[in-house]
């Protein structure tokens, strides 16, 4: 019995070593958790920052769109028919009389067309997948095509 106890005692680790191991293990867990938390925080912070940037950009886009609409309206106001007429009159122009216009023949003259603000939609063409040639050609034609292709490849390699 004593021998067993002495053997156990001989091979068992000293208490301070056990404590050190426990502390090491604990510290390892703490360090690991700290690393994970750090990475998580870093990623979250970056995501939040980018999120804020997106929000800010969205707001800027809205501002720019509003400014754009506003400027278009302002431009239309200062080029309205009434404004243009009063500007023309103040510059010394006057409305043309019925008999005054001089008409000249202009070859290839194209009459003024209404404004185009966007392209017309493309005509819808029903797409059908092309059938491989093998389905439509005769055996003889297929053979001929294979020979031609082989000949072409042969000459290409030679060159």
């Amino acid at each position: 019995m004593d021998r067993v106890q002495s053997l156990t005692q001989a091979y068992s680790q000293a208490p301070w070593r056990k404590q050190l191991q426990m502390m090491g293990l604990f510290l390892l867990v703490v360090v690991f958790a700290a690393i994970v938390a750090g990475i998580y925080l870093s990623v979250t912070a970056r995501a939040a920052e980018i999120g804020r940037q997106i929000q800010s950009l969205q707001s800027k886009i809205e501002d720019v769109e509003q400014t754009n609409s506003d400027l278009m309206s302002q431009l239309a106001f200062i080029t309205s028919a009434e404004q243009m007429r009063s500007r023309a009159l103040s510059m010394g122009f006057r409305p043309i009389e019925l008999a005054e216009p001089v008409f000249l023949p202009v070859p290839e003259y194209v009459e003024r067309q209404p404004v185009i603000l966007a392209p017309a939609p493309a005509p819808v063409v029903p797409s059908t997948p092309p059938l491989p040639a093998e389905y439509t050609e005769s055996l003889f034609v297929w053979l001929q095509r294979q020979i031609d292709r082989s000949t072409f490849l042969f000459f290409e390699v030679q060159e």
Binding site: R52, Q55, S69, M72, R85, A99, V115, A118
Partner: protein
């Protein structure tokens, strides 16, 4: 030594045991309390609702994204209706320090009522009173002034209690409708109210397309949950058939005519008979659409917003164009058929007389039109028989909507045999435009068939729609072929000759036009008035290559009751402007250029 150490250790353990137990107990009780609290909260519906509310208040907001309303352009791309930035000014009640300063500043800078603002700013902030709107549609210039003042006050007094302060005054930008041309074309455009809904004209007719589809979504305040907003297509934009220059010119012409002749109102409709495109639609009264709230009073007492499509009236003799077209097309008469006018015609117990009460003797059909003989027209209608006459009138679209793409169209009234209020005499009176009502656009559309080889095109005002990056052109639609091409050409020639022989005031130097005057008596509960009339003229040209139909209507002119004296000169004036703006050379120049 060892036993002493063991004893010491045991004593130490015992000494600390109660502390361990206490710590253990605390550590155990705490989670139990937490779990208890969780269960308590989760099982109390009022608490759950409160927390849910708190969470939703602080975690984000419900936002309605309203796509910008589509623009409206004239046919050459001039903006007629767009969007501009305006501001909503409000008061955040919880931040207000001095309601007096706020009321004083806003009444001075924005012209608001002092008491209204003071009352709004003096409200106690509560769950139900957080924010008060005090002004809408405030311009950027006014906001700049307000911002400058707010900064100055803040700098001077630092928001100290009882000192002047504009804290709590806030403003938010938003898009509002703007109409750069102000009054021009207001009747055909319509307007958009504060809630973004279109009223009248194109704005109402195409409201759903122009407004787009607003979308309501949850917007999180948490930047980690930020999402890209959904791709909301803007409202569709419209390109109208209207030519801004022609519209402005026609409005000038009609305004001058109203002033000259002391008329109650005036209307000019210009249509391209080949396509049904409305080139101009000038009528009165008009309003500056940017100020619609203040100016809508002009339409009090049932005044229609757009007389050209909404006010049906008894047109008088311009209607004879349709009667003659029906008579020629049905083979009832030929242009050279002679009618002996005795000055009186009895139908259904009613006697029909000419406009001057005279008898004009033998007349061919051109003479009937030239002298605008009521008796001749009544005779034609009876020769055709009621069924043929009314079938033709219906084929011309009288009594039906034209189908124009504008809100508020009036179908007019055409009584038909079999209707309770139709009498035999109506066949006679209807033939010269009495007892039948139509809008100016209806008349212009019907008579377009005569100007366009018998083909009547559906009138329309939208040329194309721009949506999702593509421009879709509106297809022209034929709404009927009431008469043959031959009838149309014969009648055009007859009416061109009529004007020339009469040396009408409607004749335009250098351009051959066809047309017809109209003087319609106005029905009252006591019969027809003779001293107040509707003076009209319809004309089209140039006869060898017809490009326009112009319909003129002056309501109750004072200078003269006759269409030939009042409306015909307005037609000439309108056409003189029109041909220049359309770059239309005079007939002889055109013939030379075409090598004729």
């Amino acid at each position: 030594m060892n036993s002493t150490a063991a004893r010491g250790s045991d004593a130490l353990h015992k000494d600390f045991a109660w502390r361990y137990m206490l710590m253990g107990a605390v550590m155990s009780v705490m989670p139990i309390l937490i779990i208890f609290q969780m269960v308590r909260i989760q099982t109390n519906p009022a608490h759950v609702e409160y927390l849910r509310q708190q969470s939703s208040t602080y975690s984000g907001m419900v936002q309605t994204i309203i796509p910008p309303r589509g623009e409206i352009y004239d046919r050459w791309g001039h903006l007629l209706a767009g969007n501009k930035t305006v501001y909503e000014v409000g008061i955040e009640l919880s931040q207000v320090r001095n309601p007096n300063t706020i009321a004083l500043a806003l009444s001075t800078l924005l012209g608001l009522d002092y008491n209204f603002v003071f009352t709004a700013a003096s409200q106690e902030a509560s769950e139900n009173a957080v924010y008060a709107v005090v002004a809408n549609n405030v311009s950027k210039e006014q906001i700049d002034q307000l911002a400058e003042l707010k900064d100055k006050v803040e700098e001077a007094y630092m928001g100290r209690a009882n000192d002047p302060s504009l804290r709590g005054v806030v403003w938010y930008p938003k898009l509002a409708r703007s109409y750069p041309e102000k009054e021009m074309g207001s009747n055909l455009l319509g307007f958009v109210n504060r809630e973004g809904k279109g009223f009248f004209g194109v704005e109402e007719q195409y409201n759903n397309l122009l407004a787009g589809n607003p979308k309501t979504l949850w917007k999180s305040f948490d930047p980690n949950q930020v999402e890209l907003p959904p791709e909301l297509p803007e409202g569709a934009s419209l390109v109208l058939t209207i030519d801004r220059a022609i519209q402005a010119a026609m409005e000038d012409v009609i305004d001058r005519a109203i002033e000259t002749h002391g008329a109650e109102s005036g209307t000019i409709v210009v249509v391209d008979p080949r396509s049904g495109e409305i080139m101009a639609m000038a009528t009165t009264p008009r309003i500056d659409l940017n100020e619609y709230e203040r100016q809508l009073g002009r339409y009090a007492d049932g005044t229609p917003f757009n007389r050209a499509i909404s006010q049906a009236y008894e047109t008088g003799s311009v209607f004879k164009v349709l009667t003659m077209a029906a008579a020629l097309d049905s083979g009832t008469v030929r242009p050279e058929t002679t009618f002996v006018d005795t000055g009186i015609f009895e139908i259904g117990g009613t006697y029909i007389y000419n406009w001057n009460g005279g008898a004009w003797g033998p007349q061919d059909m051109t003479g009937c039109m030239r002298h605008s003989l009521n008796v001749c027209m009544a005779w034609l209608a009876t020769q055709m028989k009621a069924k043929t006459f009314y079938d033709y009138m219906q084929a011309f679209g009288i009594g039906h909507l034209t189908g124009v793409d504008m809100a508020g169209e009036n179908p007019g009234r055409l009584k038909l045999p079999g209707d309770e209020d139709w009498y035999d005499a109506d066949l006679g009176t209807n033939s010269f435009g009495q007892g039948v009502s139509a809008t100016p656009l209806q008349m212009a559309t019907a008579i377009s068939a005569v100007a366009n080889d018998g083909v009547m095109m559906t009138p329309h005002i939208v040329h194309s729609i721009v949506y999702k990056g593509y421009q879709y052109e509106i297809e022209r639609r034929v709404s009927g072929r009431p008469i043959s091409p031959q009838t149309a050409r014969e009648l055009t020639e007859m009416l061109a000759v009529s004007l020339e022989v009469e040396s009408s005031d409607a004749l335009v130097s250098g351009y051959r036009v066809a047309g017809k005057t109209g003087t319609g008596e106005i029905p009252t509960p006591f019969g027809y008035t003779s001293n107040q009339t509707n003076a009209s003229f319809v004309g089209w040209g140039p006869v060898d290559d017809i490009r326009f139909v112009v319909y003129v209507w002056l309501e109750k002119p004072q200078s003269s009751i006759w269409g030939s004296e009042v409306a015909a000169p307005v037609f000439r004036e309108a056409v003189e402007e029109l041909v220049v703006l359309l770059n239309l050379p005079p007939d002889d120049v055109r013939a030379q250029l075409q090598g004729k």
